[in-house]
C-alpha cells in the first residue's frame, strides 16, 4: 500500500503554492511515497514520555531592546522588487473576481 496518493500530492502542491504539471505530480508521488515510507521509521523509537525538542539551545523568547535603530531605506527595501509603484510593492490582484 502506498503511503501517499497522487491526489494527496496534488493537494500538497496546492498548499505549497507550486503549480505542478500532471507529469510532475506523477513523478513526485512516486518519490514522496518512498521518502515517507523511509522517514516513518521515526516511530520505531519509543518516545511516548519524551518531551519534543524544537532546537538544541536552552533559550526561550529572546527579545531585543525596544529601541529605534537604523533600518533599510525605502529605496533599499524596494531595490529587488519585481514591480514598484509610488514607493510600494506592486502586486497582482489579491481578491477574487466576485469581490
Amino acid at each position: 500500500m502506498s503511503a501517499i496518493t497522487r491526489d494527496e500530492v496534488a493537494h500538497l502542491a496546492r498548499l505549497s503554492r507550486l503549480a505542478l504539471t500532471n507529469d510532475e505530480l506523477d513523478h513526485y508521488a512516486t518519490q514522496l511515497d518512498a521518502i515517507i515510507e523511509a522517514v516513518a521509521k521515526v516511530s520505531e523509537v519509543a518516545a511516548v514520555d519524551v518531551p519534543p525538542s524544537s532546537h538544541a539551545l536552552p533559550l526561550t523568547n529572546v527579545f531585543r531592546a525596544d529601541e529605534v535603530r537604523q533600518c533599510l531605506t525605502p529605496e533599499q527595501a524596494l531595490s529587488g522588487a519585481p514591480a514598484v509603484e509610488d514607493d510600494r510593492f506592486r502586486v497582482p490582484r489579491i481578491l477574487g473576481e466576485e469581490a
Partner: protein
C-alpha cells in the same frame, strides 16, 4: 612555493610582515581561478575588480597602521547563501537569479572587518538542499580529485575551491553535514561549529534550528583561524549563544591527545560503508590509541533514526522558511499578465523558480506538518531529537569526543544519485546527529580509499561549546598522518 600553495596562516604572516601585498595574493588566486574554473566550476560569481578593490583597501589599512587580525589580506571564497551587498546572492536558485541584497550577513561583515578578501561566491545545492552540489540551478561543480565526481554538498563550490587551490579558505553552512561531507570527499578540513556559535543573520534560511555557518581550509589551524574570525555572539540572531568563542586556535596549535577519552560510535560502521573508508577509519582509531588516547566503544542506538528524523524536521522548517519566496517583494515573478491573481502568480513563480529537490522538500515538510500527520511525523521526529541529544549527553559522560567516518563512501560520480533522493540522503548518515543535538563536529582527511584513491574523512564530534576538542584531536591526527605521508593529503591530488 607559489602563493596559492601557502596556508592561510602563512599568507597572513607574509602580508602583515610586508613581504607580499594583499593585492599580489589576490591576483595569484584570481589567476589560478581563471586557469582552473573551466574545469572545476566552483564559483557562481567572480568580479576581479571588486576583489582587487577589497585587497587594495586592506593594504591601505595595514599601511595606515590599523591593527587587523591574523587573516588580514587573505582571500576567502564565500558560499553563495550568505548575503553580500556588493555581489549578487542566489542560494543556487533561479528564484533569486540576479538579486543584489541590500545588506551584508554578519559572517560577511565580520570577514570584511577582519580584512579578509572575498574572491567570489561559490556554488551550492539550491538553498543548501543536497549532498552533491548537483541541485544548483546553475550547473554542477566538479571534484578536483576526479572531475567526473561530485565535490560533496551542499557547500561543494566552497570545498572544491579550496581543494583546487583557488582559495586557501572558504565559508560553508552545515544543516545536516553540508560542510563536513564535502570536506571529506575533497580531502580538506571542514568544521561545523556548535549551533548558535556562528551567526545566521543574513544566511538565507533552510532549516533554522540546524543551519550553522562554518569554515573550510586545507589544514586544521587555518580552519580554526577562520572560525575565530567570523564567530561569536550576534544580537541580530535570536539563537546566537552569548558566550566567548571556544579557544579553537589555541587547541589547533596543541595537537595532543594523550589521556583523552575517545568514543567510537558502534552504529556508524559495517553494512553500507565502503571498505576503503572503513579501512582508513580503523587506522585512524589505532593512530589515536598510539598517540596516547584511550579508545572505547560507545553505543548510541537512536543515531540509526537520526536520518529519518532529520528528513522530517529539516523539510518541515524549509517548507515554512521558503514561504518567503512569494514573488512579491524580491526575486523572480512569473505570469503576472494583469489577469492572474497573486496566488496564481505565486504558484507559477515557485514552480518555475524552484528545482526538483526544493519542491520535494517543501511538499514533504507541508505533509509532515499537516493536521492528522503532525504527531506521527514532525512531533515524533522532535522527540527522537531529544532522545539523540540524551544519548550524546550520556556518551560525553564517558568520553571527551566521539569519532566516526564522516560519510559512508568516497565522492560518487556526477549523475549517479541525481534522481534517487533516498540514496543521496544516505551521504549525511553520520553527520546528522550532531546537527540535531547542536554539537560541534569536524572532518579531517585520514587517507585515500584503496578502491578508488579518493579521500576519506574522519569525523570528530564534541559537546556543545567544546569546539576546541574537535580542533585538538583533528590537529593531532593531521600532524601524525602528515608525518607519515610526508605532507598534506592534498599533495597526492592529480594536477588540474
Amino acid at each position: 612555493m607559489s602563493l596559492i600553495r601557502k596556508t592561510a596562516a602563512e599568507l597572513g604572516a607574509m602580508i602583515a610582515g610586508g613581504e607580499v601585498s594583499a593585492v599580489e595574493v589576490a591576483e595569484a588566486h584570481l589567476d589560478r581561478m581563471a586557469e582552473v574554473e573551466p574545469k572545476v566550476q566552483a564559483f557562481l560569481h567572480v568580479d576581479r575588480e571588486t576583489t582587487l578593490d577589497q585587497a587594495r583597501a586592506v593594504d591601505a589599512r595595514l599601511r595606515a597602521g590599523e591593527k587587523l587580525g591574523p587573516l588580514a589580506g587573505v582571500p576567502v571564497a564565500h558560499k553563495d547563501i550568505f548575503v553580500t551587498r556588493d555581489m549578487p546572492t542566489t542560494a543556487g536558485s533561479k528564484i533569486l537569479e540576479g538579486w543584489r541584497p541590500p545588506y551584508d550577513a554578519t559572517v560577511t561583515a565580520r570577514l570584511r572587518a577582519a580584512g579578509l578578501v572575498i574572491l567570489g561566491k561559490t556554488n551550492l545545492d539550491e538553498f543548501a538542499m543536497g549532498s552533491s552540489t548537483e541541485n544548483s540551478a546553475f550547473g554542477a561543480t566538479h571534484n578536483p580529485w576526479d572531475l567526473t565526481r561530485v565535490p560533496g554538498g551542499s557547500s561543494g563550490g566552497s570545498s572544491a575551491a579550496v581543494a583546487a587551490y583557488e582559495a586557501p579558505l572558504s565559508t560553508g553552512t552545515d544543516t545536516g553535514g553540508s560542510i563536513r561531507q564535502p570536506a571529506s570527499v575533497t580531502g580538506i578540513v571542514g568544521m561545523k561549529p556548535t549551533y548558535g556559535g556562528s551567526s545566521r543573520y543574513g544566511l538565507i534560511a533552510f532549516a533554522s534550528s540546524l543551519d550553522t555557518p562554518g569554515p573550510f581550509a586545507r589544514n586544521v589551524l587555518d580552519a580554526a583561524l577562520l572560525q575565530e574570525a567570523f564567530s561569536g555572539y550576534d544580537p541580530m540572531d535570536s539563537t546566537s549563544v552569548d558566550q566567548p568563542v571556544p579557544a579553537v586556535v589555541e587547541a589547533a596549535r596543541n595537537p595532543d591527545v594523550a589521556g583523552m577519552r575517545i568514543g567510537v560510535v558502534k552504529e556508524f560502521a559495517g553494512e553500507g560503508y565502503q571498505p576503503g573508508v572503513l579501512a582508513r577509519y580503523n587506522e585512524a582509531i589505532q593512530l589515536l590509541e598510539s598517540l596516547g588516547a584511550k579508545v572505547v566503544e560507545i553505543s548510541c542506538p537512536a543515531f540509526r533514526t537520526a536520518l529519518p528524523a532529520y528528513y522530517l524536521i529539516a523539510p518541515s522548517e524549509c517548507s515554512s522558511n521558503l514561504a518567503r519566496f512569494d514573488a512579491m517583494r524580491y526575486g523572480l515573478r512569473v505570469g503576472d499578465d494583469g489577469t492572474r491573481s497573486a496566488e496564481e502568480v505565486m504558484a507559477l513563480t515557485r514552480a518555475a523558480g524552484f528545482g526538483p529537490e526544493v519542491k520535494r522538500r517543501v511538499m514533504l515538510g507541508t505533509y509532515a506538518l499537516s493536521s492528522g500527520y503532525y504527531d506521527a511525523y514532525y512531533g515524533q521526529a522532535q522527540k527522537v531529537r531529544t532522545v539523540i541529544s540524551r544519548e550524546f549527553e550520556a556518551a560525553y559522560e564517558q568520553v571527551d569526543v566521539l569519532v566516526s567516518p564522516t560519510t559512508p563512501t568516497t565522492a560518487f560520480p556526477i549523475g549517479e544519485r541525481a534522481d534517487d533522493p533516498m540514496a543521496m540522503y544516505l551521504a549525511d548518515l553520520c553527520t546528522i546527529p550532531s546537527n540535531l543535538a547542536g554539537n560541534a563536529a569536524i572532518s579531517v582527511p585520514c587517507g585515500l580509499a584503496d578502491e578508488d584513491n579518493l579521500p576519506v574523512g574522519l569525523q570528530i564530534m564534541a559537546p556543545v561549546l567544546a569546539d576546541d576538542r574537535c580542533y585538538r584531536v583533528g590537529a593531532a591526527v593531521e600532524k601524525a598522518l602528515e608525518g607519515r605521508w610526508g605532507g598534506p593529503l592534498l599533495a597526492k591530488a592529480p594536477e588540474l
